[in-house]
């Protein structure tokens, strides 16, 4: 593989199918995610979104086809940071301790860790919580910590599986906006799973609508909305935003009835 190809596509999904025993969950799917893209996977519940993400994370092996991250077969903890629907923080660690773990696994020195933990927490909008216990902060704050922790993983790919689905509407909107900024600033490649059409259009630079199980690509839509320097309300008020929402909404409904 040439190095230009490596930088061009962070994730390569090639003829991938996945079955759980007799249940075909995904595929066949062909998909390339360019470096720096914010790819959103939308689809009805049970259509195979999480499975596809787990294939990229290396937690599942495809039944057929290949998944590659920067040309390599994915392995858990190697190619990507991962955020789940639930924060999944370790309750026996402090908030800061949870973020620190990722740095420790990456071999970052103790002094360096002490410096970077507060930085990472600040980056997701958290101040003075490093010493707190996990259960002493709100659900939204816990999910922010989970994102900070995933950002501490030293690789440019970030995988998120409905990370805001369990949050209240207000908190969700704040986190969406903050994630949009963080990923724009850090130049991360993101694959983001959601069942919310609005969330997809708001966050994505490209939206993939999946069919019902087994999940295949029903629509591949580029979102050329301004990504920075625009307020969320302003963005949502654009006519093109409404048009994209309509297009994707239709596709999701059609895909679900197929």
């Amino acid at each position: 593989m040439s190095s230009s190809l490596k930088t061009e596509h962070a994730v390569e999904i090639d003829g991938v199918e996945h079955r759980y025993g007799a249940v075909a969950a995904v595929g066949p799917v062909d998909l390339s995610v360019p470096a720096g893209a914010f790819l959103v996977l939308v689809g009805a519940s049970g259509c195979g979104k999480s499975t596809l993400l787990r294939l990229i994370a290396g937690f599942e092996q495809p039944t057929t086809g290949t998944v590659r991250i920067d040309g390599k077969i994915p392995e858990p903890g190697r190619g990507a940071g991962l955020v789940f629907q639930q924060p999944r923080l370790l309750p026996w660690k402090t908030v800061g301790g949870n973020v620190e773990l990722a740095l420790r696994y990456a071999g970052v020195s103790r002094e360096e860790r002490a410096k970077r933990v507060p930085e990472l927490l600040e980056r997701v909008g958290l101040h003075d919580v490093a010493e707190r216990r996990v259960w002493q902060i709100s659900g939204g704050q816990q999910q922010r910590v989970a994102i900070a922790r995933a950002l501490a993983v030293p690789n440019p790919l970030l995988l998120l599986d409905e990370p805001f689905a369990a949050l209240d509407a207000l908190t969700r909107e704040r986190l969406q906006e903050d994630l949009r900024q963080v990923t724009a600033e850090t130049g991360r490649t993101c694959v983001f799973v959601t069942h919310s059409v609005d969330e997809a259009v708001f966050l994505g630079s490209r939206v993939i609508v999946l069919t019902s199980r087994p999940g295949r690509v029903a629509l591949d839509q580029d979102i050329d909305l301004p990504r920075t320097g625009i307020e969320p309300d302003e963005l949502r008020g654009l006519p093109s935003y409404a048009a994209l929402r309509a297009t994707i909404g239709h596709a999701v409904r059609d895909a679900a009835t197929v």
Binding site: A80, Q86, L90, P91, W92, Y105, R133
Partner: protein, 262 residues
């Protein structure tokens, strides 16, 4: 919360007072101190065994506190060895499938045996000094810790294991940072059980060459029909057991602040 506490304490004090009165009444009615010694007689024994009187030191040449100290030391060493062994065995059992398959019935078998049953074997193997007593207590304390640890390690929460692996943790790091801390509450329950079993086995362990030791004291007293000493020994063991369990509970809330919150 505080009123609740006060109520509980009050209830217990009343219950103890009622038991004491019942005891005194029964002792008075029976009027047979060899069968039921009165509270006053036991109290007198407490004073007597705790002091040097008429040139005699406590009971059988040792103060009550010395008997208790020796027994506690045995319990401590025995359960420490048993807990350590149980922890190691439990982690291995919880991690390696075939070892669990092989050892599980053995551990359950040993657990079902009354400690006195294998004590004879240890006497034959190790003589009548400290060694067989410590073996008895260690073997008695090991199974509950091994079983609790194995179950907790085996049932490590997939969600947290996956999240930690996704951060780049190696296998041993997952064990250190997720599996063991997650098992800590169950391990602690196992430890409390183990110490309890060591406690209830120590009197048995001290039936042979057990002086100094509460078990030896009780056995000698039984031989000379000194029922008040027997009762005193029971109180010494039972009350110190309560105290140790309270200490363990305290340690538990200190060490596992997340218990019930995760």
């Amino acid at each position: 919360m505080n009123a609740e506490w006060g109520r509980r304490i009050g209830l217990r004090v009343v219950a103890i007072a009622v038991l004491g009165v019942l005891w005194q009444v029964t002792a008075t009615v029976m009027d047979n101190p060899t069968f039921i010694p009165s509270p006053a007689a036991v109290w007198h024994r407490l004073i007597q065994t705790s002091t040097v009187h008429d040139g005699t030191r406590g009971y059988s040449g040792h103060l009550l506190i010395e008997h208790l100290g020796v027994s506690l030391r045995r319990i401590l060493i025995g359960s420490a060895i048993g807990v350590a062994g149980g922890l190691v065995l439990g982690v291995v059992m919880g991690t390696v499938g075939w070892i669990r398959v092989v050892t599980e019935p053995v551990v359950t078998f040993v657990r079902a045996l009354p400690p006195l049953a294998y004590f004879s074997l240890f006497i034959i193997w190790f003589g009548i000094d400290e060694t067989p007593k410590l073996w008895l207590l260690s073997i008695a304390a090991l199974p509950p810790v091994a079983v609790a640890t194995a179950a907790a390690v085996h049932n490590a929460p997939t969600a947290l294991v996956e999240a930690t692996r996704a951060l780049g943790a190696k296998r041993w790091q997952v064990t250190r940072d997720v599996v063991l801390p997650n098992a800590l509450p169950e391990i602690f329950t196992g430890i409390r059980l183990a110490v309890g079993i060591a406690y209830s086995s120590v009197v048995a362990a001290e039936t042979i060459n057990g002086v100094p030791g509460i078990g030896g004291m009780v056995r000698d007293a039984q031989r000379y029909s000194q029922t008040d000493v027997v009762v005193l020994g029971l109180f010494a063991i039972g009350l110190s057991g309560l105290a140790i369990d309270a200490v363990l509970r305290q340690a538990e809330t200190r060490l596992i602040p997340w218990r019930g919150r995760a």
